[in-house]
Symmetry: C2
Subunit: 429 residues, 2 copies
């Protein structure tokens, strides 16, 4: 039995436009394979030129959100505006009117899922957001219905395409950060103001959503330790490679006996790790569960059609399931009261120092590290003395220790007069 | 609101035992995170020693399938017996009695899904089989509810852990097939009679299930071209590596304009392809959809707990969804009447020849290939003449051509008297 479903699309940018095209092009395919007859009843966008470009018939063009919501043929509202201004108001209004909402808006879900889910439950309509994380990769569906039998103990994700593109270029072409960023901006892979991507904000929004689902408690993005890639130097990537490591901006979540650890930062992983070969704008999430062991999902984390794939898969899911399973955010902006967060987390470290080229310096560095509970796997001098300062680069790889221990040791080295720590990169296995 | 669900487990082998453990160990976790109270009401297995080992209370031990089905507390029947003998009868009996079935049985689903789904629909109960393909990796859920917005045009899978383990050892340790097989048997990774794995039967069952779902028509396993790994020589793997290729036993499905292509055979893929680094007993499926582009799911394809993860995730899904979405097998043992199968498929090829060490031989080989529509990318002599025959090895990499063209060319070369084709390996990009 075929089910008739009307949708409205709010916002016809890259994702909204891709969604419109996908729905129109696949109408007969969905009718045949999914027994759903999906029609785009209305669209809403201020840019009328864009509406014309997409060839949207005039009778579908709404002038206001009220007009969209007053249309009895609209069952599902797709929000692809982005941001937390009008997008939030429109989504809340749609839910209040009992319309199921499908959104690609990571910032909205990250910051306001509790409000939105409360409204959705109250009005018995659905709220779907597969497209908010990792584009076309069905990571949300997997967490909800694919690996829900597991205590998820760890997740590591490459969840931002722009930074992965930049780091890939720095790794394999030896280019500098500033140079690659400029190129990425020219190609449209990075925004004119790249902060949301390169400073890791985008990754923290996604980690907040994914770790909340994986760990069954709300993880506010403000609890996430964040360090971007703008200070990464190409030479550290190259030195890391010599030690068998590849640099990625990872979103890391761990559910340990001591509590939950959530952090986004440049990370060295063994070059043989499956995440190490996720290159360019590809994304991947690597999960560890107590039954399933390791699972990785890989694919395009952005782009019009890959993201539309997630939006439309949600639309079909919503259209073919009258029962709604909400996530486990529990309508709260905060974590459960019994959730502990670990900020002084455990990690191994890569350090690059510049030290005096004198006898006894190595012993002094080792001594300071040891006294601060930082034990050394390997310490190597790299290259020849700097002409101006006469100092030599020293690479240290540490065993697992605590973040505070390393920070203390670095302060002591910098104060010792024998040299300075020029780079710190965390290492995961 | 907590939902109470009783399950019965039929067969307590590796997967059944792992499922029992997972359900018992996670009871409170599922209660808290999924609002389901799942209890194992009954188990059925001839091996009473195994039941004791697992510490199953006596009152849960059934003596017959009738006793299981007569128990009104059993809502879901888990079938982890395997094979198509009693397993089929038990599953059909359970469905007839209106019990939802969760199974890990690939052969049963591959060969009898049409009968089982018909019975399930008739009695309005569910039939779930995530665990039948690729262990804990949620590939079935992904096809049903993650990428269903796409025309899937291609899938390539490493879906058998035993053969991937053997090929990995041959690739990275240079060991011979027979030697590695013996070792795998000693470690319990391969059966005493390894045919189901090494001859590719297991992979064809899984490809039949996955391609049926991806292409929305039943793909009987008898339509799948099948070639195992027992004739693979380690030297061809090594030569392939020199050309930038890695050898994998791939399950390949393509939905092309000319029809559907389904095949299982040793395949060279570029060593930079994400599937090339799926090693040991890990499995992965690489999908291409018209919107999502490329997606890969990676994880453990077998083992007690990874497979139990899939079984139990299905149990939780069944328990929390009263609505049932059936797959698109359409109750038929055969493909739709308008489905075309392509047996004379298109591929690139790696050929190893032994040819006379004489002037003009290269030109003759090239001539025969050319006359048979096989165009050459590269032709290289490898190593020195064989002492006994005086013949030299020649490696040929071809452009894309048709399977029949290559087979014809090989017959001509073998009949020409100038040499013989010793190895043929298909190449995918």
């Amino acid at each position: 039995m075929v089910k008739k479903v009307g949708v409205a699309i709010l916002g016809l940018g890259v994702v909204g436009g891709g969604t419109y095209q996908t729905l129109v092009d696949h109408h007969d395919f969905y009718l045949k394979t999914q027994q759903v007859d999906i029609t785009v009843e209305m669209v809403l966008d201020l840019n009328l030129e864009r509406i014309r470009q997409l060839g949207i018939p005039e009778e579908c063009v709404a002038k206001s959100i009220e007009e969209v919501l007053a249309n009895p043929n609209v069952d599902i509202v797709i929000e692809t505006i982005g941001g937390i201004g009008v997008a939030k108001n429109f989504v809340l209004a749609a839910l209040r009117d009992g319309k199921t909402v499908v959104t690609s808006n990571k910032e909205l879900i990250c910051k306001f899922s509790h409000e939105l889910e409360k409204e959705a439950k109250r009005n018995r309509c659905g709220l779907y957001y597969e497209a908010s994380c990792v584009g076309g990769v069905p990571i949300i569906r997997t967490l909800l219905d694919g690996v829900q039998a597991n205590h998820i103990t760890k997740m590591m994700g490459i969840v931002n395409g722009t930074t992965n593109y930049i780091l890939t270029k720095m790794t394999y072409e030896g280019a500098d950060y500033a140079e690659v960023l400029k190129e990425a901006q020219k190609l449209g892979y990075a925004e004119a103001n790249p902060s949301a991507d390169v400073d890791g904000f985008d990754s923290t929004y996604k980690l907040s959503i994914l770790s909340s689902m994986a760990f069954h408690t709300k993880i506010p993005f403000t609890k996430i330790f964040r360090e971007g890639i703008s200070a990464v130097e190409t030479k550290d990537i190259a030195y890391g490679q010599e030690f068998g490591y590849t640099l990625k901006l990872l979103a890391i979540g761990k559910n340990t006996e001591n509590g939950i650890e959530v952090r986004v930062h440049p990370t060295f992983i063994p070059s043989s790790h499956p995440l190490a070969s996720v290159n360019d704008s590809f994304n991947a999430v690597y999960l560890t569960g107590d039954a399933v062991d390791d699972v990785m999902l890989y694919g395009r984390g952005a782009g019009a059609l890959p993201t539309a794939s997630a939006v439309v898969s949600d639309v079909i899911y919503a259209a073919t399931h009258t029962e709604i399973k909400y996530s486990t955010f529990k309508n709260s902006a905060q974590a459960d009261s019994n959730t502990k967060f670990v900020s002084n987390f455990e990690s191994a470290y890569y350090l690059r120092l510049l030290v005096d080229d004198k006898a006894g310096v190595l012993a002094k560095v080792s001594g300071i590290l040891g006294k601060n509970n930082v034990s050394i796997v390997e310490i190597t001098q790299k290259g020849s003395p700097d002409e101006a300062t006469g100092r030599v680069p020293l690479i240290v790889i540490t065993h697992k220790t605590r973040e505070n221990a390393v920070k203390n040791a670095i302060a002591k080295i910098n104060a010792s007069g024998i040299g300075s720590v020029e780079a710190l990169i965390r290492v995961e296995q």
